[in-house]
Structures are given as C-alpha cells and as structure tokens.
Symmetry: C2
Subunit: 389 residues, 2 copies
Amino acid sequence: MRDFTFYAPTKVYFGKDKHKEVGAIIKELGYKVIMMQYGKESIKKSGLYDEVMKSLSDSGIKVVEMGGVEPNPKLSFVREAIKVAKENKVEMILAVGGGSAIDSSKYTAAGAANDCDVWDFPTRKAVPKKSLPVGCILTLAAAGSEMSSSAVITNMEENMKRGFNSDFNRCKFAICNPELTYTVNPYQTACGIVDIMAHTMERYFTNCEDTILTDRIAESILKSVAEAGKVLKENPCDYDARATVMWASSLSHNDLTGCGRDNMLPVHQLEHALSGEFDHIAHGAGLAVLFPAWAQYVYKYNPKRFARFARQVWDVTETDDEKAALAGIEKMAEFFAFLGMPLKLREFDICESSISRLAQLCTFNRSRVVNSYVELDFEKIEEIFKSCY
Amino acid sequence: MRDFTFYAPTKVYFGKDKHKEVGAIIKELGYKVIMMQYGKESIKKSGLYDEVMKSLSDSGIKVVEMGGVEPNPKLSFVREAIKVAKENKVEMILAVGGGSAIDSSKYTAAGAANDCDVWDFPTRKAVPKKSLPVGCILTLAAAGSEMSSSAVITNMEENMKRGFNSDFNRCKFAICNPELTYTVNPYQTACGIVDIMAHTMERYFTNCEDTILTDRIAESILKSVAEAGKVLKENPCDYDARATVMWASSLSHNDLTGCGRDNMLPVHQLEHALSGEFDHIAHGAGLAVLFPAWAQYVYKYNPKRFARFARQVWDVTETDDEKAALAGIEKMAEFFAFLGMPLKLREFDICESSISRLAQLCTFNRSRVVNSYVELDFEKIEEIFKSCY
C-alpha cells in the first residue's frame, strides 16, 4: 500500500428536500453576500430556483446571480464572474447544478481571492494561496466535483480544456437531493454513470498491489452503480437507484477509491482533449468510447488486475486471466452501449483526420506523456484514438 | 435510503514515518503551544516519544506533557488535564496513542474551551459550543476515534462509562503509520479488530433496507479486516495487513458505513456497562463476547439481513436464510475465538450475580431502552448477558 493523504472535508447533506435548508446552512456558516452560479433556465422551470431563492431570502442572504454556465464551463464566463464577485464583495459562491456549475464556481472562488489570472492555475503558472468558500446544490450525479479537489475549465480561444487540483477546490458543503436528478434525461444520466465509473476505474487500474480494502470499496461502487444504471433505464424516478448513483458520484472522486494507490486519470486526459476540441461532445460520452479502447490497449500489461475487475464487478466466471480480462472489458463496453452511449468516435460526427490533432492536444504538443499503467506518448495515444474511431 | 449528513473533515496522513512530520503539520496549522497526551511509558521505550518530540521541537512548538492516560480513560485525569491546559494556554491537544489517548484529549479539548464541567457533556446536561482542536498520532487500530465524532470516558466515582457525539470531536488531523502497531500484542490486536468489526456491524444491522452501496462498503471492510486478522496472527509485522486494519479502523467509525442507515450502536451500549463496571475488561474483548450473543438474540427479527452478512462476509453457501444467518454468527464467533478472544463472560472472572447490575447500568437504572433491531429493555438485556455468561 502506498502512503497517502486523505482529506474530504465537505459536509454532505443528503436526502429529500435538503436543498430547502440551503439558507439556514449558509447562515450558520456566517456568509451574508453570496454569488449563485447556475446553468440553463431549467432550474426555473422545475421550481428549484424559486425554492432555493426562498430559502436564501428567508435567511436574509443577499444573492448575486450568475446564470448561464455552459457544459464544459468557459474561461470567459469565469473571468466575468470573478469581476462581478469582486465588485459585489461576495463572501462565498453557491453552485446550483452539476460539475459545470461547480467547477465554474471553484475557478471563480479561486480567481476572486487571488490576484493573478485564473488561467494561471490550470496552466501551472501559479498556485492558489487562498480561495472563497464554495457550496453546491447538486442536480446532476456525474463529475463528483461536489467532494473532489479538482476543477476543469475550457479556454475557447486556445481550444484547451484543463484542470487543476487543490484542497481549496473542496466544497465547504454539498447538498445532495437525489430527487433533483429525476428529470435528468437518459443520455445525461448515462454520461454521469460513465463518468462516475471512470473516476473509480482510473484509480483502480494503476500499477499498485496490496490495497485490498480500497479495491473492494471501488468494486462496491462499480457494481452498485452498474445495477442502479439498469434500474434507471426502466424507471428514472427510482429514488434508491438515483441515491446510489448520487452518493457514488461523491465517493468516486473524493479520493476514497484511490487510498494507497497511484493517482492518475489517463482516460480523463484523453477525453479532455476530445471534448476540449469538440464542444458538442459530452464528457461522459467521450469517456464511454475511450475507456474500453484504453483498457483493450493496456490490459495486457497486467491482465490479472483486469481479470479481478471482470470477476468482481461483472460476474465473469472465466478462469483464464487473459480471457477474463477481455470479457470484463467487453461487458463494460456492452453496459455503456446498453445505457445508450456511443461505441465509436465516428458517432460524434468528427473526421478521422482530427485524431492526430487530439493526440497533440493530449500531449500538450508532444511535451508530455500521459502516465498510467503504461506511459502513453503521442504515438500510443494516437493508436488508442484510432482503435475506437 | 434514509437521509443523512456525512462529515469527516479529519485530514489523514497515512504511511511509513508519517509521525515524523507532526511538527511541520502543526506548525502549518499555526499552533505554537500544545498539550501532548499519551498512555504508558511504552512510547518512550519504542523510541516514538523521542521522534515525536524532536519533530515538534524542530518546528519550534512548545509541548505541555500529560502522560499516564489509562485504558478506559478516566474523568479525573481529564479534569486535571483541563486545569493544566488552561493554565498553560494550550492551543491544541495532540494525542499519541489509541482510542483512550484520543478520547481523553477530546474531553480535555472540550473542557478547556467551555465553562461547564466536562462530565455535563456525556450526561447531556450541556452541549459543547466550541472546542480546542485535537490531532493524533495513532498507535493502535481499534476505536476509530481518529476520525469519529464520538468520545467515551469513565467516571470511576459513579462506575459509569459514557460517551457523547459532536462534530467538535472530529480530529483536525490523524497521523496513521501502520508500522507503529507492529508491537501491539496479539490480544490487543484482536481487541482492535473486534472493535472495528463491531463499529461496522452495528451500523450494518439496523432495520433499513435499500442501502446497497453502504452495505457493500461495510462488507468490504469486514471481509478485509477478517483476512488481515488471519495474516497478523501469523505475522504481526505484515505491513499491508496492519495498514488494512488501521485504515479500516478509521473508515469503520467515520460514519461512512452508516450512510443512509439508522445510526445506533446497541452492543457498544451493552459493552460500556460491562467495562465501565469492570475496569480490567478490554472493550474489544467485551464486544467479542457480547456481539455473537446479541446477534443470536436479534437475528430472527430479520434473518435475511444476517443471511446476507453470512454469505458476503463469511462465504457461507447455505441457501436457507435462517440457517445461513446462524452459520454466519457462528463463523464470526469462531473468528473471534481464533484471534484469542474469550467466548464467555465468566472468562473475565466476574460473578453471574453481577448481570443484573450490568443490565441496570446499561439501562441507566431502567430509565431507557437500548434502541436497535429490536428495542432492548432491562429484561432483554439481562437475557443477552445471561446467554453469554
């Protein structure tokens, strides 16, 4: 088991109607002026917006609104939000939404509290020394940003999607009401499930041994999410299945599944190049295509590990490790397809000729390799992209 | 799934030599005068004391020492420590030891920061409004106090062992080096393993359904700890087995295994009466006798749940739920015996006639029932104690 630091200080309020307590929660923390970030108008149609505003107003909290966070949140939006946050002296940022709203809020919080340009954080030119606190009301179980230390943003001018990790990125609180995800459509639900499983699997498939407890916890998450995914295909309003997926979202990315293991997310690196370049691609859908392709490329470096995954998560009974490994990868791909995810990159309506550009983006113009099971250089990354075109 | 709040803000530094970083960790937090609590002189013989003192001194931290914390830590000791802490204006308490040192430190921290008598907290006469921060260097994997919100103390004058829960009881940091537990003798190692399993099982055996993810995480912990226990019987210095047990200690009691479930620790209530009355009884050993007795008494109210436990944790293959449930309880009892734990209360050298007194203590003189699977009143508790005498 590798040495590790585990730090997941986010206070999670989980259950029905919990979002109606947001005002009281923020008041208890002592913040009086907050910025609320959210995406589309859908939270107004659903009534969530009114309920949140009422709760905040009942607690006497002044709200500066920043609606319009886009999927794959944009640097330009964040820069504007930082300006507004500073002008209004906001004390904390409340995200109402999924990973996009939360990540956008994290960047805004870091940008508003530090003097440098916020793009300096993901490009490693600066490290945040402080940050405004961020809280969230989760409406999408996917990114795990509600408990994670990471935040990802897209710079449209440079066609770059980049992230950075910091304990300042840990939400102060996360309000998780599974009912708020009832209206998430099957495609987005599937994208979320793939993202959650990817967060868990990327930590699971690293070259460390002797982490049996962490392994079993990861397998518990994967098996439970896969089962819940099947239930939700039939009944999108199954509370327990929505709750399982939502809680798994947090646990998959709060580092619990990485304790004692190497921490590297190679497939996420590949996918960030993809949806960074093609804004119409949903992160989870990109992962659904890339994960099986990556797995098929790397499993041979440690078939035993992939065989364990196949047996524990997908109930594969094959005794030969090599064959079991491949059967497990196939079951995973079949499950993603069952959920309605694409199987090939071409389904995103992109040209095969863009693959070289994707490999270039992923390696920061051949200036880095992506660490994983096997080090992936430009050529190998290109090969993986090609294998799933 | 029940609504829940999950809050585990303790920063865990896990791995070899991590205790040598304690000075730097406290310095970064900004504390300059601390109280260090520990138990016997064993930490001096092992060299741990010198290493910790050197680390603290290197970081310029002033240390007020309070050695002599006893197993089942005593209220009288805590009252003295509070006095010393106030006199010396200590800013935080560092526990070096196991659950006793940590719990004693938690009470000291709460007592030093509030004006009332510290015994008012476990007797519900007062609620702490603040507390000094507590950090720990763990030398025993057992109580899970390093990440838990609970703290237990014994009032010798009144022969009462009582606890209270509060987020103020959450350690600021926990330094967990599995190597520090190499020298824990087989009996204490076994007591720790039983305590860890009990923390997990008490949350597992409550009357809630539909928490499949939490269930699987609990089963992962139980199975991994049982396996590690077998390894440690042969080789007490197996790093990975010690690491598994130590990490399980934290996860078993930081509320992860209770998410979405009722939270009640009935067997702990029974055991607190036992080791509260008989100071020579180790908490884990008391649990080892009481847990199977309690399980045999209550399983019939939900045999399906005990059958799942039997199959998932102990690989019982019996298909009949009733029979599987009993087989699982037997396997658990056999495992505790294999570790060297007593099977019957009489092995503690106590009279059968004390049972009535134990049931009285446990029910606070018949003024409460112990909530669990089944409500346990005086008579039922007496029956359980008798069944394992």
